[in-house]
Amino acid sequence: MVRATILVVLLLAAIESPMVGAAPGPCRPVSHALGSSCVPPEPKRVAVLDTGELDIALALGVMPVAATTPYQVGQFPAYLTLDEHRVKSLGVVQEPDLERLMRLKPDLILGSRLRHGRLYPLLSAIAPTVLSETVGATWAGNLRLFAQALGRDAEAETLLSRIDRRCRRIRHQYEAKGRPTLSVVRSMQTHIRLYLPDSFIGDLLQRCGLQRPDSQSGNGFARRLRSPRQIDLLDGDIVLLSEYAPEKGSLVRRWQRSLFWSRLKGRVYEVDDGYWMLGIGPLAAERVLTDLEQIIHDYPGP
């Protein structure tokens, strides 16, 4: 399937024009995870390959022409306001439809080496491609990189300083409540993840100076749990619970029905998986901060 797609893409590329990928006229070099690409001064038709890139582009005021959707969710995150006529779906993040991408004639492609590094030669044959190293915890750096590619560096700095300002306000409110620990729990179909500092949400909480429980303060992206025997690791003063595609089955529902759930002492707040977990960009961060403000405000304190 993938091999066939690759073949067709190469063929089409050869027939249509030998120089699809090169920007006509002048371009500026942007160095990224897999080298350097020469991007048009003002990209008009941007394609994004993951939810983080989509969030970043929209935050910088760019409506892409193509984007992917998360696996199992099958649609763009609901928290983003998209021009449905303009943004075409490329299918799931893991296997973007390259034929469709090529037909859309993008002039810039944004993605990450982690997700699409292996497709880089094909992608850059379609249009100049800028890849971040990874996704998640590096969201702020990714924002700066993609802003550079889009020629909107100043906007990126404005976004980040606005987030930092809101963080300081939340921190103030947070200290007044006696610095409760925040546990970040995401329920998947067959396991439960505890998010560690090296993730988007972990980085955002750290940026705001919010404390995490001991079980979630180590290095790494997330910790996976399968048995409710480990339920105590979920606990914190505040438990922020999200569910990935819950209509397809969510392990936490089974734990909630069991007696193990009664062991949790913290207050459980259900949060939206769309921007807490899938978003990984400045727009998602702002939505998370709005939620956090409300949650910390509601939290009764020690």
């Binding site: 696996y71 199992q72 179909q189 067959t190 399968r226 048995s227 409710p228 025997r229 339920i231 105590d232 595609a245 397809k248 089955g249 529902r253 089974r254 069991s258 007696l259 193990f260 062991r263």
Partner: protein
């Protein structure tokens, strides 16, 4: 007539079953001593923290009970079917029961209903029942009669059809595959406490009926004509025994997924070990099935604390060479 040597084997089997209970409850990551376990079981839990009690009552005990019930049910169903069809290769999966149950689960996953333990139990049970009803219907339609041999042929045939439908659904829908991956391999890791009660009710009923049908089945084994001459109704016996096989297999498979080894090999082990006499073989299949599955589950649970290894696989990997060795030894001693 009771032969003393064989009775000793029966007592060994019962003793092993009694020992596997504390062995399972005491093994694994949560360590409490036998004394503490005793205190837990008898109600006073002074020395044990709540998490230990929960692990025991919510995880270990339901899983052990499920292993015993599923093993007993599949062993018994396998024994009944092999005798009913006079075919040593017959196993309950051949009647379309396993693939029917899988298809039932997939239908539940594709439906708007939530995939809860009770719903999945019902879905697998109805899938298996419908599949078997279909097998009987097709046999009647195609051959005009209900012969045990045709049941196996058409059961196997329809199984491939159900299997194909399940496969295509799982290929098109990855999340469905994720949800029933463990079940397909024959695993007890998804057993939930609220499944135990219906499972126990169905399996115990099935075992009781199997005991009652053992004698009529023996009549049938002498041949349809002889049975009829002795005043029995062969058709009725066939349907009755089939219904018991369905009840036992469907209930077991709904919880654990197909564990082929128990249904196929345990009746032979029971015959070799406990005795050829039909009631002994039946009782032996029940006890051996329960023991082997509980042991296999204990084994995999200790091998991987993340609980990813299915006991069905362990049984096949260890059990098949063992069975070959057993048959070889018997052959040599003749």
């Amino acid at each position: 007539m009771i032969i003393p040597a064989l009775d000793r084997r029966f007592s060994w089997l019962l003793l092993a079953l009694l020992l596997v209970v504390p062995a399972t409850l005491l093994s694994g990551e949560v360590d409490y001593s036998a004394m503490e376990l005793w205190r837990l079981m008898s109600g006073s839990e002074a020395a044990v923290t709540a998490i230990d009690r929960l692990v025991l009552t919510e995880l270990r005990l339901p899983r052990l009970l499920a292993a015993l019930l599923v093993g007993a049910a599949l062993g018994c169903a396998g024994c009944l079917l092999q005798r009913l069809t006079a075919n040593p290769l017959a196993s309950p999966g051949l009647l379309g029961l396993n693939q029917g149950a899988a298809l039932g689960l997939v239908c539940l996953l594709l439906s708007p209903w939530p995939f809860t333990p009770v719903n999945s139990f019902i879905a697998a049970l109805s899938g298996a029942s419908l599949a078997m009803a279909l097998v009987f219907g097709v046999v009647r339609l195609a051959t005009g009669a209900l012969a045990a041999e045709s049941l196996l042929l058409f059961g196997a045939l329809l199984s491939t059809l159900f299997g194909a439908l399940t496969t295509i659904a799982l290929i098109l829908d990855q999340h469905a595959l994720d949800a029933i991956r463990f079940w397909l391999a024959g695993s007890l890791s998804l057993v939930e406490p609220d499944q135990i009660r219906p499972l126990a009710a169905l399996v115990l009923t099935g075992l009781l009926l199997a005991g009652l049908l053992s004698r009529p089945l023996q009549l049938l084994e002498t041949g349809s004509d002889t049975a009829r001459g002795l005043g029995a109704n062969p058709r009725l016996i066939l349907l009755g025994v089939s219904a018991v096989i369905l009840l036992l297999t469907a209930a077991a498979v709904a919880v654990s997924g197909p564990i082929l080894f128990v249904g196929l090999v345990v009746p032979h082990l029971a015959r070799l070990w406990i005795g050829e006499q039909s009631s002994r073989q039946l009782a032996g299949s029940v006890l051996l099935g329960a023991l082997l599955l509980a042991l296999a589950d204990l084994f995999v649970f200790n091998l991987d604390s993340d609980d990813r290894l299915p006991p069905g696989v362990a049984l096949a990997v260890l059990g098949v060479p063992w069975f070959i060795w057993l048959v070889r030894r018997r052959y040599l001693s003749r």
